[in-house]
């Protein structure tokens, strides 16, 4: 089992007013799974993703990643896991402004011990079909291309898991479909994908959909009508 969550809770103490965001979430994710976390805004799905993605710590409960309890890890060790084992794709792309596509993808490599930064970054960009955009600045490309750069950046350190937080939220439907196709292909190549979305259509690319409401999992279902990755040609390619 790649990810094992047992009774994870998260509380925020806001000047004495305690807000419970997660109320005992237990969840297992197998390696190679394509999981979608669904729920309305405020349900706690983003908080859950942050905890699974090592950006935040739970208030209580145990989290085993690759059979290792992460409770004992310090900030630097968590930073190392974020760098080497997982990749993030955000709704608003979060590329560095005034920086080339290539340098954006190189960024996570600068925090790792890996060598041959240029080569690895070029390979990752080729994998998302942007091998011909290396020297473009991040503000000279379209939204869909930006998100593909972000995927290349998530991919470049060769992680086990890719977390995608509303990856199509800022995209038109066609660019969104391209992005989902790429994520589907990465999953079929064996990578675990955890997708957070409030959009049922997007969630249906996954093998399994869990639904969160008010900090608890209310539904955990196998996705029977999984969308096939349609081969849409992107004119940009």
């Amino acid at each position: 089992m790649l990810i094992q969550l047992k009774n994870i809770t998260k509380e925020y103490d806001n000047i004495g007013v305690i807000t419970k965001v997660l109320r005992g979430v237990s969840l297992d994710v197998k390696e190679g799974e394509f999981l979608a976390i669904m729920g309305p805004s405020g349900s706690g799905k983003s908080t859950l993703m942050h905890i699974i993605g090592f950006l935040d710590r739970s208030t209580d409960g145990t989290y085993l990643f690759d059979n290792e309890n992460i409770k004992g890890l310090n900030d630097d060790e968590l930073a190392y896991i974020r760098n080497e084992r997982i990749g993030f794709v955000f709704q608003s792309f979060n590329l560095l402004a005034r920086t080339t596509v290539l340098d954006n993808v190189i960024l996570p490599l600068t925090y790792s011990k890996k060598k041959n930064h240029k080569e690895l970054a070029t390979k990752a960009l080729e994998a998302v079909g942007l091998g011909n955009r290396l020297s473009f600045l991040s503000n000279q490309i379209s939204g869909g291309q930006k998100q593909r750069v972000a995927i290349a950046r998530a991919l470049v350190c060769d992680p086990k898991v890719i977390f995608a937080d509303e990856p199509t939220g800022n995209l038109d439907s066609k660019s969104g479909a391209t992005v989902m196709n790429i994520l589907g292909r990465l999953n079929s190549e064996g990578r675990t994908i955890i997708l957070v979305t409030h959009d049922r259509n997007v969630a249906e690319h996954a093998d399994r959909i869990i639904t969160i409401k008010d900090g608890s999992i209310i539904k955990d279902e196998k996705n029977l009508n999984k969308r096939k990755s349609e081969m849409i040609e992107d004119e940009d390619l």
Binding site: G53, L55, D75, N83, F90
Partner: protein
């Protein structure tokens, strides 16, 4: 390390005018530091030129109003015999040619000469000028390093026989004779005709006097024929071994006291200065000015540093989203810390480099102005000044960058990401 530099460079080049304004305090501060160092060195080169003119192994005898007389004059028990007679209305007339000869009996004394000065109208073929006339023993030519460009020095015999011979300063020579050869010509000095036997090489102004605008004649001729006096204004003593200058100065004082019948040193009518003592006065002044200017520069640097700190806080706030992203991508706290710290250091270093160039330019202008006034002033930017300036600017970057950088590194990645 290279990636830290890249990130820092990205930050600095982002808003160039803001970067420049932020660095301005550092630029001014470092510029002042370099200016002070450079002008200090220039001033030293000027002082050394003055010292060299007298020869480096010399001690200097000047006349001085005895303390007791001065007490009577101004009714104050002031500090010793520091006023030279030149400063006083009453000239001290006790320093004689005999004193200059007697000090040569001191073992460490190699040579000596006495000198007097006067002012007289000098004319040649209808051109007249009221100029300074400098009279010295013939031995001056062995002690001082002035170079006679044309002709010859006068001899001891000429001095003794009150010969009417003169050596011209470079400016006087050209003023009176233009392009014609002055050697062998006669000029009128007061009521006497003097034969021109030499012309000095151009020396430049010393700030107080200008040798180029004087004429030089034997001291006895000056005393007897022009001024009608029998005393000297000052005397210069050349030593074999300058390391024994202090003892030799005491010996010289003793000879003079014996000659002047003085038993109580507080009633000395002269003052003996070693080269070291003369230099130490200049050095004290120089140090005082340096300290003052460095203090001003430090204030500017601190103000500049606070400006850098202020902007770095703003920059951290501006880049919260970026910091969150970098943390999500695996940047450790210390990676973020170094990125911001290096950005701050790069900023102050940039300011430091511009400051060094600006300060050096200013010092160059000062040296040119000084030269145009005839001072022998060298333009020097000392290496130690550059090294110190660069170190200071880096240290300021570290000191004033570390708090904003720590703030940035301690940010919670999620909060930072959500701020975007």
């Amino acid at each position: 390390m290279k990636s830290y530099l890249l990130q820092a460079k990205r930050g600095i080049t982002h808003n160039k005018s803001r970067t420049f304004l932020t660095a301005l305090g550092i630029i001014i501060g470092i510029g002042t530091v370099v200016l002070v160092f450079s002008v200090g060195e220039g001033f030293k080169s000027y002082i050394n030129a003055q010292v060299d003119a007298f020869g480096s192994n010399t001690i200097f005898i000047e006349t001085s109003v005895p303390a007791s007389t001065k007490d009577l004059a101004n009714g104050a028990s002031d500090s010793g015999n520091v006023n030279s007679s030149a400063m006083n209305a009453v000239p001290v007339t006790t320093l004689k040619n005999r004193d200059v000869k007697d000090v040569r009996s001191i073992p460490n004394v190699k040579n000596s000469y006495g000198a007097s000065m006067g002012q007289e109208v000098v004319s040649y073929k209808g051109i007249s000028k009221n100029i300074f006339i400098f009279g010295a023993d013939a031995s001056r030519f062995d002690v001082d390093k002035g170079i006679i460009a044309l002709g010859r020095p006068y001899s001891e015999e000429e001095d003794k026989s009150l010969a009417q011979v003169t050596i011209l300063g470079a400016d006087i020579a050209s003023d009176l004779f233009g392009d014609t050869d002055p050697l062998g010509k006669y000029i009128r000095v007061g009521n006497y005709n003097f034969e021109v036997i030499g012309v000095y090489e151009r020396k430049g102004s010393t700030g107080i006097s200008n040798d180029d605008k004087q004429i030089f004649i034997p001291v006895s001729t000056l005393q007897k024929k022009i001024l009608g006096i029998d005393y000297l204004f000052y005397a210069v003593v050349e030593l074999y071994d300058n390391s024994k200058a202090k003892i030799s100065a005491l010996d010289v004082s003793e000879v003079l006291r014996r000659n002047h019948n003085i038993t109580d040193p507080s009633r000395d009518d002269f003052k003996v200065n070693t080269q070291e003592e003369s230099l130490s006065v200049f050095n004290t002044i120089l140090q005082a000015i340096t300290f003052l200017l460095i203090a001003i520069a430090l204030i500017s640097l601190i103000v500049g540093g606070v400006g850098v700190m202020n902007i770095m806080y703003v920059v951290v706030t501006e880049r919260i989203g970026e910091i969150g992203l970098k943390k999500a991508l695996g940047a450790r706290n210390k990676d973020i810390l170094f990125e911001f710290l290096i950005e701050a250091v790069l900023l102050t270093l940039l300011g430091g480099i511009i400051g060094i160039l600006g300060g050096a330019l200013f010092a160059y202008i000062i040296s040119k102005v000084a030269e145009s006034f005839g001072f022998s002033w060298k333009f020097i930017v000392p290496i130690y000044g550059v090294v110190i300036s660069l170190s200071i600017s880096m240290i300021i970057g570290i000191i004033f960058g570390v708090f904003p950088a720590r703030n940035a590194s301690k940010l919670n990645p999620i909060e930072a990401l959500n701020k975007e």
